[in-house]
């Protein structure tokens, strides 16, 4: 057998597009037939073994006897609309007018606001599975799509993972229209554009791209459309399906697209010239481009006093650095650079380490894994057995392990500090997990040398990140007040005169100096 690096790869399937057409294309060619019975037979064939579909044929006599067929999916529709505004008029009223039969039906009989005429079965299938009703008329080679949607929806609640002490408590839901309505309500301008797209061959998920015309960076917008246009996927269930495909640096642990569950955050970002992507079926809304500092920003920063929120933001940044560096730093000091420790501390730590079986580096890895396990359990477990977890976590790990001299107490403190600080910036959990391990590995192999090398690598990586062509960290080195007003501190609102210059060319947010009584 050949060594693995000489083995030839199988040729890639380059004619993937052709195959996809074979699988999906047939429905595109299927046209509506003039005969009602033919049409009903096709629909029944398409939805064979799908027992939620309802088929009904209506016959009227009188002057102009006619036959109509309606098809809808139970559970997605409002039966009241179908009964009183579609079936009843069809039975009682006679269509009149100059157009085709189906046009006449829509103008003079059916009492539904949103309608559409088509002869394409693919179109019909997409809509009937989304709660619309199909109306066939015998002798007409077209069909009408009548909007009768009525889903069970969750009500608007405060998002669990983005809670705030003050400020709006509304969060997005799974309904696209409801989410859009929450954005529209906050932005009553004609400049707000909402472009609707459909993605996912099987899920046909509706996606809305929202932006403010006068603020958005057109290049970023075009790039977004170009990348979305290239997507070919069978289903989109969440914003991340798309965000992960279209983002820059797909293999980086750091985020290059933003997400939020809060309409106020989305509107705030739109006002800075960003683009929002609302995906049907998920309360998560993606925003582009994403700057590195957004990892540390919170909507509360803008709602509370700026002294307090500036302090909290610095805390968040320190927490990120600490949670990445602390385990590595501790190992480097304890295993390589004991000279760094003052005598009393050195003796204390050495005393603790005397009777512990594992070397410090391995102990750190084990304890970090234990903490991550506890955290993961805390997220996954049903909330009513939380007590068991806290007992196991606090008593067994915290106390028993130390008393049995299996783990040194300083290590528990280090791991606890690492864990707690890691929870401060939940948006960065991925880079934290990855880089903490990298830093720990380097530091426990090379001491401070490895620590500084790994932190340097991380900083270089962060500085190289872009989001839709926009640098995540600006290296232009401008330290003017307006350039840094929302980085390490949050300037008071009357000083936020311009928008971030990397996001938009329309800078002026407010006329200067309009503060004070």
């Amino acid at each position: 057998m050949q060594p693995f690096w000489k083995r030839k790869r199988e040729p890639k399937i380059r004619n993937l597009d052709k195959k996809l057409e074979q699988w999906n294309g047939s429905l595109d060619q299927e046209k509506v037939k003039p005969s009602l019975d033919d049409n009903m037979a096709i629909v029944k064939k398409l939805f064979a073994d799908m027992d939620m579909m309802r088929y009904k044929v209506i016959e009227t006599d009188g002057k102009n006897p006619a036959r109509y067929g309606i098809v809808f999916c139970d559970g997605l529709v409002s039966s009241e609309i179908i009964n009183t505004h579609i079936v009843k008029p069809l039975m009682l009223l006679t269509p009149s007018g100059k157009g085709s039969l189906i046009d006449n039906l829509l103008t003079s009989v059916v009492q539904v606001g949103e309608t559409q005429v088509t002869d394409n079965f693919k179109n019909l299938v997409e809509n009937v599975t989304y709660g619309d009703t199909i109306l066939f008329a015998d002798g007409c080679a077209q069909a009408a799509i009548l909007s009768t949607k009525n889903f069970a929806l969750r009500s608007i609640t405060e998002p669990e993972n983005e809670k705030v002490l003050g400020g709006p408590r509304e969060g997005f839901t799974e309904s696209l229209t409801q989410n859009i309505s929450q954005i529209l309500r906050r932005l009553r301008t004609h400049e707000l554009k909402v472009r609707k797209l459909t993605l996912g061959r099987k899920t046909q998920t509706a996606i809305c791209i929202c932006y403010i015309e006068s603020l958005v960076n057109k290049e970023v917008l075009q790039e977004l459309y170009r990348r979305i246009g290239k997507i070919d996927i069978d289903g989109v269930l969440e914003e991340n399906y798309i965000a992960e495909i279209i983002r820059d640096h797909p293999y980086s642990a750091f985020r290059t697209t933003g997400y939020t569950e809060r309409p106020d955050v989305v509107v705030g970002k739109l006002l800075e010239g960003r683009i929002a992507m609302v995906v049907d079926g998920t309360p998560m809304v993606a925003t582009f481009p994403y700057l590195f500092i957004e990892n540390f920003q919170s909507n509360e920063d803008y709602y509370f006093n700026y002294y307090f929120t500036s302090f909290s933001r610095i805390l968040r940044m320190c927490a990120f650095l600490l949670t990445v560096v602390v385990p590595g730093f501790f190992i480097a000091v304890v295993a390589f650079h004991q000279e760094m420790l003052p005598l009393q501390l050195l003796i204390k730590i050495a005393q603790e380490r005397q009777s512990v079986p594992l070397p410090a580096a391995i102990e750190a890895v084990v304890m970090l894994m234990v903490f991550e396990l506890l955290r993961e359990t805390g997220v996954r477990m049903p909330s009513n057995i939380g007590q068991a977890l806290s007992i196991v976590g606090a008593l067994v790990i915290g106390q028993a392990a130390v008393e049995a001299n299996l783990v040194a107490a300083p290590m528990i403190i280090v791991v606890a500090a690492t864990g707690i600080t890691g929870l401060v910036v939940p948006k960065m959990n991925a880079p934290i997990t990855v880089w903490r391990i990298i830093v720990l590995a380097f530091a426990s192999s090379f001491g401070f040398y490895g620590l500084s090398v790994s932190i340097g690598l991380m900083l270089i990586h962060i500085c190289s990140l872009t989001s839709f062509g926009v640098e995540q960290i600006s290296l232009k080195g401008s330290f003017k007040f307006q350039a840094i007003k929302d980085i390490f501190f949050r300037a008071p609102w009357f000083k936020m005169v311009v928008r971030p210059d990397r996001l938009t060319s329309n800078h002026v947010r407010q006329s200067e100096g309009n503060h004070g009584g």
């Binding site: 005598l343 003796i347 050495a350 005393q351 380490r353 192999s445 090379f446 001491g447």
Partner: protein, 379 residues
């Protein structure tokens, strides 16, 4: 292909981690933390005896203060002795946290400090800031030996005593290894080293700072008692503290104590008619700490008189110390050579070869000023 390259890089990295896994790795539980050393010399066997005070991590429980134990080893040189200690000890000695080295008076007198300082400065692990202390006991190890009932680590205590003394009692002078090495190898001045002995305190013998040892070159030639050391300190060190006690009435003990808040000293030289004179000007800001004589401190005249008395005491005491150093020890711990070198290089170049002979003849002119800035007046 990219995939292979990445794979190759990953493999290299994995090997790098495995191969370098022990680069300088020192597990804390395999170290004996040496806190202090005592150095003695056995004349008959011609070997150095080195005692190490080691933090005893296994003993006692976590609540009580950490105890220490003493390990002794011998060797032809000091480092040889340090290496030989591994023959008795399970773990290797770690000198990175040692803060005190006690040298026996016998080593200091006969062999000199050089072998000790040389090793400490060359060794990568030892710090250059280790405090040097001369033991006035029979051996250096005596100073580290614990008497019964003593809690804690003696080297730490010695280090603390020596370091904080200048500000509090001003009875000793703290010298670190690098400072000593600097003055020993310079012709311009000589060094002093704090000296300690053991004294009965209630029921046990504990180390006590007892003035300084005077060095000539790297060898010990004598001691200066604590009360004399104080005034040496006022000449050669900035920011010395301590108490100046006076007697203004005819009581048997001193009845006024002045606490030194701030002490400034300014030295200058004049060279006239082949006669070198060093002017020592001191300015001391003091507060009245004790007033057993019941002087009325609200009276400005009384305060002025007290200041004059204190100035007189300062002046005579400094002159006393200077004359002891010039006439008895004949070694320039006052730093006059350094002063001439800085102020008048040409003169120093002439004097340098015979400085040892010239030093005792240097004239000294002391003028002192004492300012009472606070009398802590009690009604």
């Amino acid at each position: 292909m990219v995939g292979k390259r990445i794979l190759a890089c990953l493999m290299c990295l994995a090997i790098a981690f495995v191969l370098s896994g022990c680069w300088n790795y020192r597990s804390l539980d395999e170290l004996d933390i040496v806190v202090g050393l005592a150095i003695d010399y056995d004349k008959e066997k011609k070997v150095f005896w080195v005692d190490y005070e080691i933090a005893d991590l296994m003993g006692a429980d976590k609540q009580s203060p950490i105890q220490s134990r003493i390990v002794r080893s011998e060797g032809k040189t000091i480092f040889d002795a340090a290496r030989n200690a591994k023959r008795k000890e399970e773990d290797r000695l770690y000198f990175g946290s040692a803060n005190t080295v006690v040298i026996s008076h016998q080593v200091a007198k006969e062999i000199g400090l050089n072998p000790v300082l040389d090793w400490i400065l060359r060794d990568a692990e030892c710090r250059e800031t280790v405090n040097v202390v001369i033991s006035q006991e029979e051996t250096a190890a005596n100073l580290l030996e614990t008497t019964e009932g003593y809690k804690g680590i003696i080297s730490v205590a010695i280090n603390q005593i020596v370091r904080e003394d200048k500000k509090v009692t001003a009875s000793g002078i703290n010298r670190k290894v690098f400072e000593l090495y600097g003055s020993i190898h310079s012709k311009k001045n000589s060094a002093v080293v704090p000296a300690m002995h053991k004294k009965m305190c209630v029921s046990r013998k504990i180390p006590e700072l007892n003035g300084v040892g005077i060095l000539k070159g790297d060898k010990l030639i004598g001691y200066l008692p604590p009360d004399k050391t104080q005034y040496l300190l006022y000449v050669i060190e900035k920011d010395a503290g301590g108490l100046i006690t006076l007697s203004v009435t005819d009581m048997e003990t001193d009845d006024i104590a002045l606490e030194v808040f701030k002490h400034l000293v300014d030295k200058s030289i004049s060279f006239e008619d082949d006669k070198i004179t060093v002017k020592i000007k001191t300015k001391t800001y003091v507060g009245v700490a004790e007033n057993l004589a019941n002087l009325p401190m609200r009276d400005k005249e009384v305060v002025r008189k007290l200041e004059r008395a204190a100035e007189e005491k300062m002046k005579t005491s400094i002159e006393d110390v200077v004359s002891i150093l010039q006439q008895n020890f004949r070694t320039d711990v006052l730093g006059f050579g350094e002063l001439i070198y800085r102020r008048n290089l040409k003169l120093w170049e002439q004097l340098e070869p015979d400085w040892d002979k010239i030093f005792p003849t240097v004239g000294v002119d002391v003028s002192s000023e004492v300012v009472i800035i606070s009398s802590a007046y009690l009604k």
